[in-house]
């Protein structure tokens, strides 16, 4: 908002504006490319982000003709299973919105119920307001937002917090973008009891589960970021592992992949350590072999390595 309005010169009625030039200036393609490259799958999410980007860009051009329109509401709701990339996308959202000049700072403030709701009467409002103030100019990401409302306890302070949020979402649209996230069924119930919240959120985006193929790609990307790679056999083993793991309970998509990789790295280090006299090459240090993956208990016992630790 702020950085576009002041330098603007209005254009004559029959003047022309260059959408492409504006697009280039905003650098948005770079962010979208990065999004494509670093986030595997997530088709509906990417489509929606593209749409939002297009809307904001066109809005900017409209402003040059002094066509006033209300600031679009960009509050969003991300629903999806654990590990489908809700937080990651929210983080990107801040950057994208900043490039489009919709928010000023583009930082992300992640909160949960504990950060918003107080413990006694009169504690909630200041707490919520403090969080809101911190998030201004950026994105407020409320994880597990459905916890805010507890229907079984009518004296719960969550409702107070919701009311303050609603007020800010309506009045300070220019200052802050609120993103709610949570599991689909629970969020649906949350919105049923808070219709005001539902109507103030323009974008409801559902994050689909990843396919096994996508998860393998994610695994490779994660490893590449940490300067590791899977050997050909290791890749096959990991694909096999994913197939089994996806059937087990508590499978949380990319998060499970990350945990599995962390354990594979542990076993790799252990394997290298088992023979201390051996001279190691760089390839040895960065390669995760099939053995490192196959040692997982998913193969031998049909359950996860860290059943209690992983949720």
């Amino acid at each position: 908002m702020s950085n576009t309005t002041n330098s603007e010169v209005s254009i004559a009625e029959d003047g022309l504006v260059d959408l492409e030039a504006e697009f280039k200036v905003s650098n948005i393609q770079e962010v979208l490319d990065k999004l494509d490259k670093e986030l595997i799958g997530l088709k509906p999410v990417k489509t929606r982000i593209r749409e939002v980007a297009a809307l904001l860009l066109v809005d900017r051009l409209r402003k040059k003709f002094e066509l006033s329109s209300e600031t679009p509401t960009l509050h969003m709701c991300f629903t999806g299973n654990p590990g489908t990339g809700k937080t990651t996308v929210a983080m990107r959202m801040g950057e994208i919105l900043k490039r489009l000049g919709y928010v000023r700072e583009g930082h992300l403030v992640t909160v949960t119920r504990d950060d918003l709701v107080g413990q006694y009467i009169g504690h909630t409002a200041p707490k919520t307001k403090e969080v809101i103030k911190k998030a201004m100019g950026g994105v407020l990401f409320i994880d597990e937002a459905y916890y805010l409302y507890k229907p079984e306890n009518e004296r719960d302070y969550g409702q107070e917090s919701i009311e303050i949020l609603l007020q800010v979402m309506e009045n300070n649209r220019d200052d802050l973008v609120v993103i709610l996230a949570g599991y689909k069924d629970k969020m649906d119930r949350f919105f049923q009891s808070n219709p005001g919240m539902r109507s103030r959120i323009a974008h409801h985006i559902d994050f689909p589960d990843y396919s096994a193929q996508e998860l393998l790609q994610i695994a490779k990307l994660m490893l590449a970021q940490q300067n590791y790679r899977l050997s050909a056999a290791g890749e096959q083993a990991f694909a096999e592992y994913l197939k089994l793991r996806m059937k087990l309970p508590h499978f949380s998509n990319a998060r499970s992949v990350r945990n599995a990789l962390d354990r594979a790295r542990l076993r790799q280090a252990n394997r290298l350590f088992a023979d201390p006299k051996k001279k190691l090459s760089k390839t040895d240090l960065i390669t995760i072999e099939a053995d490192d993956v196959l040692a997982s208990r998913v193969f031998s016992e049909g359950r996860t390595d860290a059943e209690d630790a992983e949720d």
């Binding site: 700072e105 200041p126 403090e130 103030k133 911190k134």
Partner: protein, 144 residues
Amino acid sequence: MMTNHGNRITQGQFSFLPDLSDEQITAQIKYALNNGWAVNVEYTDDPHPRNTYWEMFGMPMFDLKDPAGILMEVNNCRKTFPNHYIRVTAFNSTRGVESPTMSFIVNRPKIEPGFGLTRQEVDGRSIRYTVHSYATDKGEGERY
């Protein structure tokens, strides 16, 4: 002779200038935030120059990135105390500094009666001088 024509209190920064607009206040707050200072909103109805500690309006605001939240508090304070002095201060928490680095008035009463000079005769023919705020002749809450 009237020494202070507008009869306006001059404390802190920008106090000889006309009142700051909201944009100017935002720009100043932005400067403070860019320096990593925590910004407070304070108010008082006793603007004696030696009254260093004004009442705080809410908690000091640490870890903010954007001035919009602070401006919101300033406006809340203006709504609550439309006829008080309100100032914005920026606190530098760097070890060894730990003191306010900015302070400017963002709201004034409509009428500022100003200060009178009080003389007190003491031993011999010595005179002690002090300033006295006319506003404080009235009780708290009725001053402006």
